[in-house]
Symmetry: C2
Subunit: 141 residues, 2 copies
């Protein structure tokens, strides 16, 4: 692998395709989202709407923060509130033809990046591990 091979790498070769990405819907109760997060073991997952468009990211941290009261963690709040009330909506989004260097730059502050096509249909995610695996391959040679 040369430095040109790295800079010209197609990010679509590295992504986890949408059918393998655990996700929840915008209007799901928080209880459902926390169970999906706990059962999959993931810290954070994408939130999609009914037309498979990306709407945000929900995480164990955001849910636990929301239900952390002054004295204790108020678990009864989980069934009364929805994903849309806690999800983060300000995340960077990659387009399918974005350059590899853009993915590296955005991954400095995100554990994974969501990828959309030109019609804003969710294509999958690019986790930091995929970038690190490819960069390690380059450095090793």
């Amino acid at each position: 692998l040369t430095i040109e091979d790295v800079l010209n790498k197609d990010i679509m070769d590295l992504i986890i395709p949408s059918d393998q990405v655990a996700h929840v819907q915008v209007d799901n109760p928080l209880e459902h989202a926390l169970l999906v997060l706990v059962k999959t073991g993931y810290s954070a997952i994408p939130v999609l709407d009914a037309s498979y468009k990306l709407r945000g990211i929900v995480s164990k941290t955001l849910i636990l923060d929301f239900i952390l009261g002054i004295e204790r963690i108020e678990f009864e709040k989980l069934s009364d509130h929805r994903v849309s009330e806690v999800m983060k909506t300000s995340m960077p989004i990659l387009k399918t033809d974005d350059p590899f260097i853009e993915a590296v730059k955005l991954s400095i502050n995100e554990t994974f990046l969501c990828v959309e096509d030109e019609n804003h249909i969710f294509q999958g995610i690019l986790p930091r591990s995929a970038l690190l695996k490819f960069l390690n391959h380059y450095l090793r040679d």
Copy 2:
């Protein structure tokens, strides 16, 4: 930055030093560990013993997994159990003089790496963001 600069990078230039790393003690109750994780916002943090030696890593995922019952999340278990009962002890550990490429390889499967000196005293952590920031700097030039 040349490829030699990257391969010869001292990992100690990139670590978060131990006094800035949120951590808990082996014998802390789980309730305390979950509150530290929620208040700092971190997904996972190191577990140290009284002599500042690394003993494991505890995470929101490991704690939530432990208290997930068949019907519901059993929060009352938090005060009856300790960090040592859920922490992961099989994590890779970097030495202060390990090469940069070793840190990249181990970061493929770990969100951060703990760093120890030759006397096994905890020195700090090397998060994936630090590696990605440095690699981005190299690729950009």
